[in-house]
């Protein structure tokens, strides 16, 4: 198998594993479908926005949950945003934790919220590193003269 074919296979297999393990869902496919010759970096652009936004939200959440008197509505508002953005890019596991997180906010359960914060941080860092790996393989493929299989 030549270099390009090998990288293509690597890309296809890696992407499939991310779906199988639930890191990504159908919405990520939708993003890929929106990428074309006139919008060649669409997926990377949207995902980069997601990374920036997520880091901001995680900071806000950490601060909000450190306060003596926790404003659960504010915490919930941040989680709602996080749930929305993760759902928009297909980051399924992050989205699932956000759903549980919102329930704890509704119950005003501090322990539950703190637990979810840790969980969402963990899931976020996992999906971030997976996506970065994915983009790296894509870059290698393109550098080798190949094209991303649709």
């Amino acid at each position: 198998m030549d270099g390009v074919a090998q990288l293509q296979k690597q890309l296809v297999d890696y992407t499939a594993s991310l779906f199988q393990e639930g890191f990504l869902d159908e919405q990520f496919n939708q993003l890929q479908q929106l990428q074309d010759e006139s919008n060649p970096d669409f997926v990377v652009e949207v995902v980069s926005l997601f990374f920036e936004d997520s880091e901001r939200l995680l900071n806000e959440l950490a601060k909000a949950l450190e306060l003596k008197t926790i404003d659960f509505r504010k915490v919930d508002a941040h989680v709602h945003q996080f749930k929305g953005s993760s759902s928009s890019i297909g980051a399924q596991r992050v989205q699932k934790v956000c759903i549980a997180f919102r329930n704890y906010c509704e119950e005003q359960n501090i322990e539950g919220c703190l637990k979810c914060l840790q969980q969402v941080k963990h899931e976020y860092s996992l999906v971030k590193s997976k996506l970065e790996t994915l983009f790296k393989i894509e870059k290698q493929l393109i550098a080798a003269g190949g094209s991303i299989p649709t």
Binding site: Q27, Q30, L31, Q33, L34, N39, F42, E45, V46, L49, F50, D53, H80, Q81, K83, G84, S85, S87, S88, I89
Partner: protein, 221 residues
């Protein structure tokens, strides 16, 4: 592919793109929506709040007045531009800080509003039946669940076409029962094969941004 003669004629005469005003406080959502809409051959203006949406609509109104006073002596391009500016559809997120999508909907559809006839579509990540019926009762054309997909944009065709069609033509607003109107049928056929509203529009270069009115900080993508 075959275009119904009336539709092709409309396109020729008006030479405009569907102009959608997208309202969402999330940058990621705006980027996604903009891409979905341009993929469906629409022109998009994105704003990050209901207030900015109203500001933009007011600005367009004042510009159209400017244009219309000189329209008789203006070159055809200026006339086209005035038509081009007009918003054919508003798509708004439901949950936004400050003015919600529901508040915006109410304001647009209010008695005496000059924007009453602009179709409004509300989007939300939450499937709350009471919320949906509230919006529909207030005059929303559709309520779409996020995350939006290309297939959702198909649902918007009839609403966009409403604003392009000649006053004498009657377009059924409810497409669910199947339409007797030939034009609607042809558009649906076109779309099923190509997944775009009007495929030949894709080869046209995008309108220069200068043509669109700008307020400092208003055009947020």
């Amino acid at each position: 592919m075959e275009l119904h003669p009336d539709f092709a004629d409309t396109q020729q005469k008006q030479k405009q793109h569907f102009h959608v005003l997208a309202v969402d406080d999330s940058l990621i959502e705006r980027k996604l929506l903009e891409r979905l809409l341009t993929e469906s051959s629409c022109k998009v203006t994105c704003v990050d709040s209901g207030d900015k949406a109203l500001e933009y609509l007011s600005l367009l109104d004042s510009q159209e007045i400017e244009y219309s006073t000189d329209l008789s002596s203006s070159p055809p391009s200026a006339q086209q531009e005035a038509g081009y500016m007009k918003v054919n559809l508003i798509m708004t997120d439901y949950s936004m800080p400050g003015m919600s999508g529901y508040d915006l909907l109410k304001r647009v559809k209010m008695q005496g509003s000059s924007w009453k006839d602009i179709p409004v579509v509300v989007m939300s990540s939450e499937n709350v039946p009471s919320r949906i019926s509230m919006c529909m009762e207030e005059g929303a054309e559709e309520f779409l669940l996020k995350p939006l997909q290309l297939s959702d944009l198909k649902k918007l065709q009839p609403h966009l076409l409403k604003s392009l069609v000649h006053p004498t033509e009657d377009i059924s607003t409810s497409n669910d029962h199947g339409s007797d109107n030939n034009m609607m049928h042809d558009i649906t056929t076109l779309n099923d094969s190509d997944n775009v509203l009007v495929s030949e529009r894709k080869v046209m270069s995008p309108e220069p941004l200068e043509r669109r009115p700008k307020i400092n900080g208003l055009l947020v993508v």
